[in-house]
């Protein structure tokens, strides 16, 4: 646009490819941790690598994985969401109410359940963005409220999805003809792609990173930070709601007492995947890898019949090691 001579120092073309390669490599190496663990179990136990166990691992990663996907957005903004565990439960319970008590059609009930999750997220977003309550507190409070409401609404009893036969298929059925590949895993894959696109290619993703990187500067740049925060927490809530539906489908029931503790597991998956709790940095592929690392680890240790008390010691140590290797690698580059 300007005709003036520019100084030679600015050579913008070159590193874009190199930069991308490096990004790929980094992900590949995070992936490497997963592969190492996976291979370890393959050699340690010959029962580990079967189709059925493989899909079992993926299905086991589904609920935490879905929660982790949504919460990745929140964590990138520099926030945290402790309400995803019991929020998921409340979504499951409400799905039960819609389908079983109210007798709504399957898809209406499912969408209703997801919307309950979205509503929980929106309230979190409101409390954080508008009232200015720190995310930890706002979502901790929501965690307690959702846990209580799940019990109240369900009458402290599971709600069974007997009247809606197709419901169980959502998680464990298989729409791919020929092979036994659980739908739940498909849902996880599709949602991971959706999340990756949202985060990487849309304005929502851009602002997620901007807010996490420097909220004040983003606001002064004319971005309506409050509005976007509410949207981001709501998006996380959609994932929570979906996790609730998948959970309920897997258990053919809404279990009102479940859920506490799932949030830590999901957050751990996110952070193992390289997303920083300080905000501004993170990726969906990392989160997926983080969730898989957790699922493979748990499954492998169980397959090997490691005594329960040693399992948690082992998981703790492997998490430490995986993250430390990741740090070493980044220092190198």
């Amino acid at each position: 646009m300007t005709t003036t001579q520019t100084r030679p120092t600015a050579a913008p073309e070159k590193p874009s490819i190199a930069g991308r390669m490096r990004g790929r490599l980094q992900q590949f190496l995070a992936f490497a941790s997963l592969i190492i663990i996976f291979l370890f179990f393959c050699f340690a136990n010959d029962r580990f690598l079967t189709w059925s166990n493989f899909t079992g691992i993926l299905l086991a990663a589904t609920v935490t994985g879905l929660l982790a996907l949504g919460t990745t957005f929140v964590i990138i903004t520099g926030g945290i969401d402790l309400s995803i565990g019991t929020g998921m439960t409340l979504s499951a319970v409400m799905t039960g109410v819609f389908l079983t008590y109210w007798g709504l059609p399957l898809w209406v009930g499912v969408i209703g359940g997801i919307l309950v999750g979205a509503l929980i997220g929106a309230i979190n977003g409101f409390n954080v963005a508008i009232l200015g309550i720190p995310p930890f507190i706002a979502t901790l409070a929501m965690m307690l409220v959702a846990a209580g409401l799940s019990l109240v609404i369900s009458g402290t009893a599971p709600i069974y999805f007997k009247g809606t036969p197709g419901f169980g298929e959502i998680a464990t059925g298989s729409i791919i003809p020929g092979i036994r590949f659980p739908n739940g895993v498909l849902i996880l894959i599709v949602m991971a792609i959706v999340a990756a696109v949202l985060l990487g290619k849309t304005i929502l993703g851009r602002y997620t990173f901007s807010i996490g990187s420097n909220e004040e500067a983003t606001a002064l740049s004319g971005v309506n930070v409050k509005k976007w925060k509410i949207i981001i927490y709501t998006v996380a809530g959609v994932f929570t709601g979906l996790a609730g539906v998948v959970l309920a489908s897997r258990l053919s029931s809404a279990q009102p007492a479940l859920g506490m503790g799932y949030e830590l597991e999901a957050i751990a998956a996110v952070v193992i995947g390289g997303t920083s709790l300080q905000g501004g940095k993170g990726s969906i592929i990392g989160t997926v890898i983080g969730a898989l690392i957790m699922a493979v680890l748990t499954n492998g240790l169980r397959i090997m019949s490691i005594p329960q008390e040693w399992q948690s010691v082992a998981v703790g140590c492997v998490i430490l090691l995986a993250v430390y290797l990741d740090i070493l690698r980044r220092r190198e580059s």
């Binding site: 029962r47 079967t50 166990n53 079992g56 069974y160 464990t172 897997r250 007492a257 506490m260």
Partner: protein, 310 residues
Amino acid sequence: LTGCSSSGSTDGGSDDAASGDKPYIALVSKGFQHQFWQAVKAGAEQAAEEFDVDITFEGPDTEADVDQQIQQLQTALDKEPDAIGLAALDSQAVDPLLQQAQDAGIPVIAFDSGVDSDIPVTTATTDNLAAAGEAAKQMAELIGNEGKIAMVVHDQTSITGIERRDGFVDWMDENAPNIEIVDIQYGGGDQLESTDLAKAIIAANPDLKGIYGSNEGSAIGVVNAVQELGLEGKLTVVGFDSGQAQIDAITNGVMAGAITQNPVGIGYETVKAAVAAINGEKLPKVIDTGFFWYDKSNIDSDEIQAVIYE
């Protein structure tokens, strides 16, 4: 909201209790969120209605929360009840508070599992060791007294978890030399975790013949695993407790059968005994509320229908 819906009476609450127009019995259980405890509570409320007393019923979030239970017991004592019902998570940990109750002249009724102390005037309980032994016996018969089996237990530290594991294992050791228990894992009574756990056990042991789940959540987890893997009928599943899912699994054959306690009876007997204690009546040391094996053949019988809950 300020009313007390846990109370069996219409206008319950401790204020009324304190004002003394009705006897007040505080029940501190081991939990409240699970179906089993809700059934105990239902039995207690039934008795409260019948004997015209006020009750409250509360319990910690999980059976690991010994500290939470102590605080609940402490608060219950501060409400100066006329009697206390207690399902202790750890007998010794509650001992000082039981002492305090005794000093204050408040009778204590133990329920669900015994309290290792002289203070409770009576205990309304299931013999978990024997109940688990019965489950083992049924399992052995069902698989023809030989082969590999595994166990999904709800807890490795709580008394019920330990007793339902050990009762099962001991019976097998003594009576079924050809049955091998290849794995015992713990799923916290969480249905989802127990499902994934049971799937891993099955994956690791393709020649498995049966799995035992030690409480409602564990048993349902095993049932889910079998269904997700399409192994219905190929694996013998023995459960514990009841609830809709187990009843269905038994009716449609995924589960061979289960042990049930009599939770409603436990709750009812506890309150009844408390009333008796308040009135200074003499009570037996133990009120055995019993346990039952139920399967497809007897599930519709009156005897079983009376003790299972949906």
